[in-house]
Point group: D3
Chain length 282, copies 6
């Protein structure tokens, strides 16, 4: 499977902003006061636990934006499964640059690898089932594109990137429209031919109604496993079925076993446990 | 205790950017297609679990930036302890505005309340000890000021905001300087009179040496509880002692019991579990 | 039909930038030197030719950003068909503000109304046929969201907003993949469940092959009317058919008569004739 | 004649913004999914119709910002007259980069070449007359500097770049001042010695009055050819005479024949027909 | 004389940036920790020395951007001559807001009033002579528009705002062109009809040559008073004469007495002595 | 002593903005019209008076951002004492680039060298005394980090960079708190362990009170020399003593002779006399 990468031109402003956030108004006063300009070091990004690497490019960009003379060699590119002790990349050159960029570089790669690792854990847990893992819009403000990239790196797929690239009709939309049918009709009349419509349903009765309507997917929100199984049977492949509600590596297998097409997890991006990656000095 | 607030002028650009990230290039196509402009709704931000609220201003700002006609009433301001079911605020007015801003508003308040809740849990766990909780620079890129604010809301204190507002000398700085003494001397010669110097020490031997030097605090990194106790005894109040290394609500009490002045936790901000807060419709 | 609007929060930065572009480094020196601060005027945006209004909000925002005391009344909102002499809106208040914002306000509304008018002309020309009009990514740099909004105002629909919200496979993609089937397979394996795939085909042979593959739409590029008719027959509704290639109000009816589902026109946004709208003083 | 170029530092932000507008939040998903990273291609920007090239640097910058490894060779630099089939430049290197930047590159060069071609057409049409062609402030929001550059490339000259670099007194200014003389006096008293004053006059009577006043140019707005001829005679070279009002290649020769010094055309920049330029693959 | 004002839309980004520069990442920790939210104060901007007020709007905007509830009353608007002890404006409302914005507000108004006062001093010193005072491009990076506005407030005039709004030919341009005549010819051929040409001359010989050429002004750089007098006589009003070189209130009268039209002073903006203005608490 | 440098990543946006401010909307029209693209020149930045160089990197960055082909050689880096006639750096390459960047480059280096020179003059004047020179927050909006860097280059030290990196309690804070003790207590309760507290005192009575309180420094504001001497004696090294109030090279020695630890000077940054540095052509 190809993982869709993130263009450098999109990543650079985020890395640059993170560096400026850390440098403040006087820069790295500790390093600049203590470390001689000519000092050089050899270091390695090393995993301190098991997981999947993501965001290595962001980390290396942080080093290079601070100090263009730094040289990096990638040992385990994004998508690599690593164990504690594995070297991910080596960075060598002026010590000052390494010390000044270290924290920002780690903040990116630890956070994004945390997401990729969580995604990979769920994906692994549902292996053998037809279901794909997808993420949500429950992301950290400002980091959505990066977080969704990390989900892809971990083997997951992306749901909507925003409010504008897909229709997702929830109960309040339906209430405002008067009926499910009216809601879908209005949506269809307003959108382009490449935009799909997904419908959130909470009950099998709603699903019953949805089956008579032109939707591309249904979001089965917080349904019991029994209801999910029924929903899959009722739908019979007419459109994609997505199960949501507290999907984690622990809960995912049972949900996947119901036969749904998609498991969506907000936990993936809103409650990230950073992967522990450190910078070792040689 | 007064919690230092965040100026509105600093928060607005972040909320604005998060909204634009979500609106993409066409806005909320679902809502705009389905919900009539004149529809109005009454909603409430409701806690779905126990925790401490933080970031409510960000959330309300998101609603108002999308739709100035929305009215909000705050029931539990930042710093409030809430239980599942508690209403945090009510938002009423044009339905379109509520639906379009909902996700971004929740992304802010759930994330920041997650941090405040974690901070409060640690603070609660070490009650009775002298130790204060402090955060680190292990933050999500772009959100440092907000995250550190949330730590304060939860009862924690802020460590350095960046590389520029304090000196923190680590082993690699010492190595580059040749000796601990040289490192401190160089730092002292370069900084202003309101800047403090903290020294990271890994062993009691290093602490021994530090005791002879003009530092304002020592960071006791990943020391055993026994070593921490010895360190506190050796230091005898000469400077502040900070213990770091996997501080969580579970590990904090034992560390605090060693008598250190500060517990610093990167976990607080790099591995946030969002507080579950939802928007209920009436 | 509901026209998807553009959120104010997205429009304001563009209007603000356009005003600053015009004010330069000294502002409106003519007006500030000559017109007394207390002078007031009543003016009207008046159509000087027939067309469809779009971008009125941008124009009024330009006036208000320069001078919050200006009052505006809308007579013909976006989407209104106007004839020469029709009043679109009145703006009254401080003369200085009106004069300083006039050109920028007109630049927005004339350009966007030009697009809406062109779209409406094509839509009108194909009335009675099943075909919808869609726009392309051949837009003016920086104005894509506004231009695509104007297409909607004129009765058209939006194709992709960018490279990221739909898959459009062209011959060079196919060549790089080795085969049409491989290209589609790779795309399908990488994208989310709400993303559709459209395939550009230049010949009926390619269409033949496409019919065996899981695509959501085909772009029939620059085909003859005969070939378009054959393509529609061959496709028999299996997926959407889109005809492209120099679609204008003159050529559109014949293309629509072939039975295709969509007519896409780059001309709509890359070669805009501004609608003549002026500011009359009373 | 030297064409004043545009500094790279001014162009880059515009090209960068246009690329980000097109890449959205996930980048070029079609290309990234289908085209192998190692694929390479040779392509050429080729004119599909006759015109004058402008904006080639913007186009090449788009390619390089996406993929620094792309190599470009310029065959027909800005200002070149091209016919259908003429190669303007070749771009070779990684296929992914070419495909991802193609549309933005073309959007710049087609739009700006459209302007240059229109300017050149008018300039050609008035050859032999003393009149110069000038543009106006009727430009596309955000692109004024680029559009005015393209006018220069086509052989035209630039009128004011904004409200701040020249005084242009219109009837409403005069009305607010009470008299033409008062208006000019106030302007002269407020501006620097390098700023010129132009006066818009609608009738020969107004011109009569203007002849007694210290102005640097008059804008003869929408006058008949007869009146223009009279105006030129009356002015007798005392100041520059500028004719405006629907100047196109068709109308320009007759206007130029009246002997005016300048023809100003808003059509040049507000109603641009893009020059058709495509990217051919070898 | 009308002083050309600065549009609010241009000033706000500068004030906003200055506030953010001062607030850093945690805001006004002193005030927020100590002053209760409900505290209110009455304060006054008071001149501590004699001078001319400029930049009051910037100062008041700083207060309002921090705290919209602050009320301001202007006693001495921009352009007012003040003596030590004069109240310039009163600001009252929430104490926190006043304290947090105070420094930034003063930084603007003290700096700009310093410029206006210096300009006024020179203008006063040359009263009775025909000469006008003009500023240069020797400005503080980022503040040119504000500084040039302050010069106007002080009674001076603006020279070029940048490299783009006037031609100023220096010796190195002439050298590159081969001759003065060639330089002027090339410039004239490239610029619009509202752009003037000024020529820098260092000797009377060069002026002699300039008199035969179509220039709008000459810059007599660092000439002796005798040479200036000769230059004025030689020029005999054919074009404007500008004297430059260490123009201060002390040197200006003698230079003005030579009869030149313009005195240009870089000192005005590159070596500003701030006017002492303080905030008094009642 | 090590001078803390400024990271390139922080400086570049400022230099870029200054260049764009100067280039306006058409660039350097004089140079582009007159100087052939192929012309090359050798130039030198030369001091025209005595002082200390600061900001050379900004100047050279200006040249390189306009024209990457320019080569620079540094003769006297930041911190060098120079006399009139000394070459600071040579810049050679395309003439156009040198001419277009010259003014902006000089604006940076002249302003910052002016600050460094003033700082050095004060530092020199107090040699032999224990006192250090520190700057204030009385800076030019937008340039604080650069100005404070220049103070360091001149041998001074930095006081607070903003409202957030130190507590400075003034009389109005004390008044709002009710008492000095309450003010300090509230501050201490809100801030982190690396933040220091300084107290402004106007009288010896206040100092008396301060001596019983946990502060890190006192600001002795506008005290007489006698009072300063008494204050130093009373304090007896318990905390740092800072004298402020019209500190210049003339007044500094007497103040330093009182034995205070710090002299703070707003004059350093709010009333800068630019160091005269020019660009000589060879």
């Amino acid at each position: 499977m190809t993982v869709l990468p993130l263009p450098t031109i999109m990543v650079e402003p985020l890395v640059r902003a993170a560096l400026l956030e850390d440098l403040g108004r006087a820069g790295d006063i500790t390093t600049d006061a203590i470390v001689p300009p000519g000092a050089r070091a050899e270091t390695a990004l090393v995993a301190r636990g098991a997981g999947v690497v993501a965001g290595l490019d962001c980390a290396l960009m942080a080093f290079r934006l601070i100090e263009p003379a730094l040289a990096a060699e990638i040992a385990r590119p994004d998508g690599s499964a690593v164990a504690g002790g594995d070297v991910i990349a080596t960075i060598s050159g002026p010590t000052r640059g390494i010390l000044s960029a270290e924290r920002v570089a780690l903040n990116f790669v630890c956070h994004l690898s945390g997401i990729a690792s969580a995604a990979a854990a769920i994906v692994q847990s549902i292996k053998g089932h037809r279901a794909h893992l997808v993420c949500t819009r429950k992301t950290i403000p400002g980091l959505r594109a990066l977080q969704k990239y990390a989900v892809r790196v971990g083997g997951g797929f992306n749901h909507r990137f925003g409010l504008d690239d897909g229709v997702l009709i929830k109960d309040n939309h339906v209430a405002a429209a008067g009926s499910l049918e009216a809601a879908i009709k209005r949506a269809r009349a307003a959108i382009g031919h490449l935009v799909k419509i997904e419908l959130e349903v909470d009950t099998l009765q709603q699903l019953e109604e949805a089956l008579r309507l032109p939707v591309d997917a249904v979001l089965l929100d917080n349904m019991s496993l029994d209801d999910l199984r029924s929903a899959v049977a009722m739908t019979a492949g007419r459109f994609a079925t997505e199960a949501s509600g507290r999907i984690t590596p622990e809960t995912a297998p049972a949900v996947a076993a119901t036969g749904v097409d998609l498991l969506s997890s907000g936990w993936l991006t809103h409650s990230v446990t950073a992967l522990d990656i450190g910078l070792d000095w040689r």
